[in-house]
Symmetry: C3
Subunit: 348 residues, 3 copies
């Protein structure tokens, strides 16, 4: 139980209403029960404010003005809510514990208060920083170094010689350090594998989603900056650099040697070709196809929204004649111009 | 060995030809050998009927009329065939068995006839229903409950506090219950993680493909209805609801808080944005991009089919001037209209 | 240390400059230090030739003519470099070794010089060829056969009854042999599972990327030819055939029963529909949507490149009226033609 006043302090909000109101937990507007606090950030859900049973709601000053119930007022209700969620649901600090089935190489260096789950495999020369938790079935290859505060979930695969910063979260099924996709074509049309001898270097405060893969560099390192957040099912190819605080949604693919700037936001299922440079503060909307570098901050998009199949068939069929259409249009413009000239001539 | 008559009964078909014909197994039209039964469902393969060595073929009444060989006649040859495949290849019922290397928490509750593979990790408070099979290397987190009849393949990762219904099949590499992708932007442009305290609730008769990931809800549960079938490499974000009997092909991504109705069919590599509602009985063709809600049943599509690169370059280049083209077209229409009016005037 | 002469011999190159120059390793042009050799293949990076500290550079004859430093001259600098990388970074041959925690069925057949990692599970009837390495946590199902020279990384899942050729590399998180996605619709709109009784047959010299999945065939085998290279996060559905030396980049999805010819190159995030046939020597550029068969070798593409969001909105909105635009254009052409005819008539 926390008072509304306490929650205001934690989240940097103003109280509207009863400061001593006791709050037992967090919930959505729609499902909040007595004693719970909720928030409204997406105006799409504004109607729910009228019917919510939440004891208090976190609101922007503007929305709070129209709301007569108990509220926390904050310019960023979502961030304020996040802080309150984390107060009620703080993850437990790991306790020093090594499951008897864990296989930790004799020369691995394990920090203080590290919890190592069942069937974890930690190879020779590995370092794990203090206050980390390694989930069951995770395999960490030789000489990989993971700094303090890591939360690595079950069944993660980390190849040898990888460097991972502080307070990193890695979800199940993620693979870090697999070979980059490098082959040279031989005269007989078979492919000659180029051994991938680079590494992956991951900064602090990075989160890596379930089943995401990050390939090691061909010669140098694939780089993931500080504070980068990667969702599930992402493919990051060799030699990619992703700079600090960039956030990437699920199912994105980034081809080799592309660099992405700071604070970018990349929507789900975007595909980015190789050897490109994306500037800082670029936002790319979902499912876009990026095949050239982006030099300026801004919002970029491609893709056509789904429509009724019958209409789509007709429009898509026309697309294949678009160049022809453009030429025909040009021709008609020329005729119109000619006619205008003739008329001008005639009226002279 | 089964007689054609027996197969007719099992599949609800009529026999055409020799009821006592002995059938030894199932095969495709193209590769069937003596004694095997096949089927024809896709008219694309109709020619194979002329050359097949199948002892009998399952056909629609219409196709059977033109076929002189032994046949089972059924309005739905594919479904009839499926039933016969399953007759010849019924999966074995699991036998009570716990591999000595399996690590099952003392307070986990394991039903009757449950087979637990090598190196399985079952945490405290987990419940596994009767007649289930848990594949080697699978990890099941605390307090997760899996109902009877589950078939969980090797190396699956199930997080804590997940609920899974009866007769569910989960393929290798699937991840269920990873954190939803929720971050609030802070003033310094870094991302503040919102702990994901919801769950995943999965209905009965669900199948989940290899390397598919389903995130847990932010506050409540991500919901997968009864009879939902999910292919491989699918990403399902937090708070998504997928209603009963919807089927989703591989490599689809569904962003957070989107709801999908009953009996939908979603093609491969479709991307669906967040916070949308898709009605019941919606079909979305492969690789479509869905960025607004779909309110009525029907077939929806987007995407342009690949064409020869040279043509594509020209058409795609024109697309970037489509708005301009539309304006020029409008202008020409206005001129044409003007001319017509002038002519009318002149002829008055 | 190798002399430039030795490297020339290994890579089939000519020496330009000091044959006795000692080379200690490989690096990129940008980061090469004293004693290292680099290469220039992509003309995009040509400028780096002026500033590199590489002791020697592998160059095409044309570029070498303008370069005064030590060089290896080769018509294919990338392939020559690959061979030299592999000389300096040859993977160690596996040594016979079985981690005490590995669980190998008594009747499994393990060749000579096979290294089996911690917590590996090898089921009954499995065969592993000589000189193979099986990474920690990998699970290999009953009766699967893997030929000599395999390198299977950690946490791979291989289902029962799969056949894998010689010198195959499989990366972490890959899943081979999961059920194809086969369901028949029943009258009550629920889906009836068709047991997938086929296999997967993988040729020699195949590489399979991290978190890639290959489903087993419905009745026969999903086939992956010799020398095929598959990147990460690829989905290959049941009954797909991929012929020899085809290379497929990350995040591609290939739907059921499609066949792909020899020596094809498929870019990242391409989606290929089911039941299609792609000819030999087809190149498909990244993120294309393939929904009909491709009968001739060549380069094929689709997709629209991302542009500034404001422009995209306008162009994409017009796309939905493209059919209408085409009709209006046709109408204007008819008017123009009519006018021309009238003028001709008038001038007769």
């Amino acid at each position: 139980m926390k008072s509304l006043r306490q929650l205001a302090e934690i989240s940097g909000s103003e109280v509207q209403g009863d400061e001593q109101l006791q709050i037992s937990g967090v919930a959505t507007l729609q499902n909040a029960r007595e004693g719970q606090i909720s928030f409204l950030s997406n105006p799409k859900y504004r109607k729910q404010l009228e019917t919510t049973h939440a004891a208090a709601v976190i609101l922007s000053p503007k929305l709070a003005a129209d709301y007569s119930g108990n509220a926390l007022i904050n310019n960023d209700p979502y961030l304020a809510f996040a802080k309150i969620v984390n107060l009620f649901h703080a993850p437990e600090a790991p306790q020093a514990n090594r499951h008897p089935s864990a296989l930790v190489a004799a020369d691995a260096s394990i920090g203080e208060n590290v919890a190592i789950g069942a069937n974890v495999v930690i190879d020779s020369g590995v370092e794990i920083g203090a206050n980390s938790k390694i989930g069951a079935g995770t395999v960490i290859g030789e000489n990989t170094r993971i700094a303090a505060g890591a939360l690595v979930h079950a069944n993660v695969s980390i190849y040898p010689d990888i460097q991972i910063g502080k307070n990193v979260i890695i979800h199940s099924g993620a693979v870090i350090g697999s070979d980059g996709f490098g082959f040279a074509l031989q005269a007989d049309k078979s492919w000659y594998k180029i051994h991938q001898v680079g590494s992956v270097i991951i900064g602090d405060d990075v989160e890596i989603g379930a089943n995401t893969s990050i390939d090691r560099g061909a010669l140098e390192a694939t780089l993931i900056g500080n504070g980068v957040k990667l969702d599930n099912q992402i493919q990051i190819a060799h030699n990619v650099h992703i700079d600090d605080h960039t956030i990437i949604a699920g199912a994105v693919g980034i081809a080799g040697s592309t660099t992405i700037g700071k604070r970018c936001q990349i929507g789900g299922a975007v595909g980015i070709a190789g050897h490109l440079a994306i500037a800082d503060d670029v936002i790319i909307t979902g499912k876009s196809m990026v095949i050239s570098s982006i030099k300026e901050a801004g919002v970029y998009s491609s893709g056509i929204a789904a429509e009724e199949n019958r209409k789509w068939r007709r429009n898509a069929a026309r697309f294949r004649h678009l160049d022809e259409m453009a030429k025909q249009l040009k021709e008609l413009q020329n005729i119109a111009k000619q006619n205008r000239n003739n008329q001008n001539l005639a009226s002279d």
